[in-house]
């Protein structure tokens, strides 16, 4: 990594960042204003829509040179406002650009979110990257290829449709005419608005998309290359550790600040209101100083944490009832009615690498390196927190460990910015400790659902009612009030009031409306704005519990009516693509010939279309329940996923495999524990997650072939279906329905007993 001491302002980028002969003549940013659902509705209002007729993020950044630049030597640079989180987005976007430009993918360099270089595409969240950025780059590339062909035709004096591209970065015309892109590009300006209907390449001719290109980021990750923000070492860099109580809402006292400040190697102890950080020459010195300070007593500074379970905690909160679906009602004669309550506890994101950030304040300008999902929001937050105009703050995304939602990434970046503001001229590297990540990050919200559903005498579902209680899942910081440091400085910023994300994306309500064709359908979201426990987005938001509930209820009804769970689903699924993934998973799993339950072994399946507008995903599982220990062993999991055109099918498989394993972990063993004072899950022994001996024997993911279809977000699609398939398989195996997560060994053993 190189040091970038001068904050790269937009102006300096314009004057220095362009090579002679480059296609780019400027870069185009659009002002930010009111809402669209870039990033799935998380974060603040997305970038302003200025070209509503264009697809994906071209709506807010319509100029081609915001996205693509071609140097005179033919090198292609593509700019995205989205970021790599380990989901493989870099490789997928390179494939998209290479395909529509018709160049080899090795020719393409991708620049990810950087407030001085790339468009603002809102958050990298909500499985929106392919829909927002993939779609924009696809169409921008098609536009560029069209302009290149037009320019070549003009200079050759031939018809535009006589010019083709040959896949190697060259244009070809009649009579053996040929020219490299770089040469043609040098005579062309891309500072023009995209058109919505640039001709796209024929999927039958695809050379790059739909193939398994090895991920570009993997080799460095296998061999100690500089792959992560944690690996950045800037000249003169200092190491910092932040001092807070062990859990959100606590503080330490008394603080041995003078003693620690006098430790050899400690450069300073930053104090700003109740914000305290140790800055040292060496990392281990900072850690030792922190450990000394942490011997102080922890005192609760916020109201006590709710005691009792998630139901008591949530139902004690005032609710705003949002009616999501209210009929229409038709007369029904129920033969069987099932009422059930399902719950999920608070979950930790559990990133393997605690959050880290670097910041440098120099010459009145602040640079922040961040692994947050919202690089542009990091700039807004830091600017407000340290009192600088936004244009004097430059935020650059650098990959961290997987985050799966809002972990400590935003907080640690704000912390680093504040420390840097107090220690000008020296880059600050701040990493949270393991117990700080567990104690301070926003948790995935605890949730409750209550469902009531009826089966008619015709064995069809006659009525369905779904109620969900949840805190807001979208507390992504868009200002200084959203981060911990914002509440600690003098004149603190108030924590903003939580707001629901409107449907169809939803937050606690996400996927609360079944995709099935159901009469007498009622869905209510009891939105609970008061958050006694710090929460924010965790991968799939409310879909994890809502899909768990819906798909558990399908099996409960199927059992009541003596119907095969597969048949009950197919009987109510009219969406053809939904039917296809359900049928495909059933076939690949061998559902019709599955082993019959014997008290230990059983099978379950579940389905959802993420947000009812993203990828379709069905999961089937075979489990074996050790009745003596309550341990659930997943023998095999099979999934089918339809994400439209897959840029990289192996990338999709990797995401869905990972989603299934992670969801099994959430659903079968995870829960943040509390006492009245604090979170008590502070390390991997107090917050255990799945280890190798407990992962499935096999996981197989089938990606449906959908050539040329629009991209559908995939990254979170498996969380709900995997959770429900697990519970359904356990119910099938044991005859006992478990509705409260986690389906932990203790709970399973207590519920099913020994035969």
């Amino acid at each position: 990594m190189t040091r970038s001491l001068d904050t790269l302002s937009r102006r300096s980028f314009l004057s220095t960042g362009l090579t002679a002969g480059a296609l780019v003549v400027g870069f185009s940013m659009v002002p930010r204003a009111f809402a669209q659902l870039a990033g799935g509705g998380e974060g603040g209002p997305g970038p302003k829509v200025v070209a509503p007729n264009l697809p994906g993020s071209l709506k807010s950044a319509p100029m081609l040179d915001s996205w693509i630049r071609i140097d005179a030597n033919g090198a292609v640079t593509v700019f995205t406002g989205k970021v790599e989180l380990g989901q493989g987005i870099k490789t997928a976007l390179i494939q998209v650009a290479a395909e529509e430009l018709d160049v080899p993918p090795a020719r393409v360099t991708l620049v990810t979110a950087d407030t001085a270089r790339t468009p603002d595409e809102g958050l990298t969240a909500g499985s929106h990257s392919m829909q927002d950025s993939g779609t924009a780059i696809l169409n921008a590339a098609a536009n560029v290829r069209m302009l290149l062909a037009r320019k070549a035709a003009e200079s050759w004096g031939v018809a535009e449709d006589a010019v083709t591209t040959t896949g190697d970065g060259r244009l070809a015309g009649p009579g053996g005419r040929s020219a490299p892109y770089g040469e043609v590009a040098a005579a062309l300006s891309l500072h023009v608005e995209a058109v919505p209907d640039a001709p796209r390449r024929d999927p039958a001719q695809y050379r790059t998309m739909g193939r398994d290109l090895p991920r570009v980021d993997i080799p460095a990750k296998l061999a100690g290359g500089a792959a992560y923000i944690q690996d950045m070492r800037l000249p003169g860099m200092l190491h910092a550790r932040v001092v807070r109580g062990p859990s959100v809402g606590t503080r330490l006292e008394p603080l041995a600040i003078a003693e620690v400040a006098a430790m050899p190697g400690v450069v300073t102890v930053v104090q700003d209101g109740s914000f305290v950080a140790i800055v040292a020459e060496r990392e281990w010195t900072a850690v030792k100083a922190l450990r000394r300070i942490q011997t102080a007593k922890a005192v609760r500074s916020a109201p006590p944490l709710p005691n009792g379970g998630v139901v008591e905690a949530l139902k004690a909160l005032p609710s705003r009832d949002i009616v999501i679906q209210d009929g229409p009602d038709t007369p029904a004669t129920p033969a069987h009615t099932v009422k059930a309550r399902y719950t999920r506890p608070w979950l930790s994101h559990g990133s393997i690498g605690p959050s880290c950030s670097l910041a440098l304040f120099q010459d009145g300008k602040l640079t922040v390196w961040t692994h947050s999902q919202g690089t542009f929001d990091v700039r807004r937050v830091a600017a407000q927190l340290v009192g600088l105009p936004e244009e004097d703050v430059h935020a650059i995304h650098v990959e961290g460990a997987g985050c799966y939602g809002q972990n400590g990434a935003d907080d640690v970046s704000a912390d680093a910015a504040l420390i840097a503001r107090h220690v000008p001229g020296r880059p600050i590297r701040l990493q949270w400790m393991r117990e700080q990540e567990f104690g301070w990050e926003p948790l995935g919200p605890g949730m409750v659902t209550e469902l009531e559903a009826s089966l008619g005498p015709d064995k069809r579902i006659a009525a369905w009612r779904h109620e969900v209680w949840s805190n807001p899942h979208n507390n992504r910081p868009v200002g200084a009030g959203g981060v911990l440091a914002g509440g600690e400085i003098p004149n603190p910023f108030p924590v903003p009031e939580g707001k629901p994300i409107p449907m169809p994306e939803g937050d606690g309500s996400r996927n609360s409306v079944p995709l099935y064709d159901l009469p007498n359908l009622h869905v209510v979201y009891h939105f609970l704005k008061d958050m006694p426990i710090r929460v924010s987005a965790l991968r799939s938001l409310g879909a994890h519990l809502n899909v768990f509930s819906i798909e558990s209820m399908f099996d409960e009804l199927a059992k009541a009516g003596g119907i095969d769970p597969l048949d009950l689903r197919l009987a109510h699924m009219v969406d053809e693509r939904g039917r296809d993934v359900i049928a495909t998973v059933a076939e690949r799993f061998g559902w019709r010939g599955r082993p019959r339950p014997d008290g230990r072994r059983g099978c379950g399946l579940a389905f959802a279309r993420y947000k009812n507008l993203g990828a379709y995903c069905a999961v089937a599982m075979e489990v074996e329940v050790e009745r003596e220990t309550g341990r659930i062993r997943v023998r095999r999991a099979v999934a089918a996923v339809d994400c439209g055109q897959a840029a990289s099918p192996d990338g999709v498989r990797n995401q869905v495999e990972g989603g299934i394993v992670q969801s099994i972990s959430w659903t079968s063993r995870e829960a943040m524990s509390f006492d009245a004072e604090r979170r008590t899950g502070f390390d991997w022994s107090a917050y255990p997650i799945l280890r190798f001996k407990d992962v499935p024997d096999s996981v197989a993911v089938h990606v449906m072939d959908r050539p040329g279809q629009p991209f559908l977000g995939t990254a979170e699609a498996a969380q709900g279906p995997a959770a429900a398939a697990l519970a359904n398989a356990v119910a099938d195996a044991t005859g006992v329905r478990l509705r409260d997560m986690p389906l932990s060994p203790e709970r399973v053993r207590a519920a099913v007993g020994v035969i």
Binding site: L85, Q87, A227, R282, F692
Partner: protein, 163 residues
């Protein structure tokens, strides 16, 4: 205190407090990125390196304790442009999502490969039990280790008989 360490076959002199965990010396003094800080508690394996051929948690190993011993990090197995055999198996299986756990996984698995003798699927799972992955890349990691095991011919006959 000045110490001489042998890392990936080369000698390095470092000046650090003797109780500094090897992890911080590798990362901060020697600029080696492979070993990662995950927990500092010996619970996750992200920091795994070899000392005299045995896997250890570098977050719990004081630097003074490895003087005169051979330390190997993932950088010692190959470089991004020239991956070693086990790293190649991970690349062939595309066995990474965020990848933060992976260098530790590779060092953990390498110790199993180095042990030699027959290695079953269950052996691999048992051996890897110490290392955590949050992205759920486990199935690919297991496949990658098995691929590397197969390449060395150390697979057990009972496994070969399995369908």
């Amino acid at each position: 205190m000045t110490m001489t360490l042998t890392i990936n076959g080369a000698e390095h002199r470092v000046d650090a407090e003797p109780d500094t965990p090897l992890l911080y010396v590798l990362r901060d003094d020697l600029g080696l990125n492979g070993a990662k800080y995950g927990c500092g508690l010996g619970q996750c394996g992200a920091c795994t390196v070899h000392v005299d051929g045995r896997p250890v948690f570098s977050c719990l190993t004081p630097v003074a304790a490895v003087q005169g011993r051979r330390v190997t990090t993932v950088e010692g197995l190959g470089s991004p442009g020239n991956l070693g055999p086990l790293q190649q198996a991970f690349e062939q299986e595309q066995a990474a999502q965020c990848g933060y756990c992976i260098a530790g996984m590779i060092m953990r698995a390498q110790a199993l490969l180095d042990r030699g003798g027959p290695i079953s699927d269950a052996d691999i799972r048992n051996h890897m039990q110490t290392n955590l992955c949050r992205c759920g890349t486990h199935m690919r990691i297991l496949r990658a280790v098995r691929r590397a095991v197969d390449a060395t011919g150390a697979r057990t006959s009972s496994l070969e008989a399995k369908p």
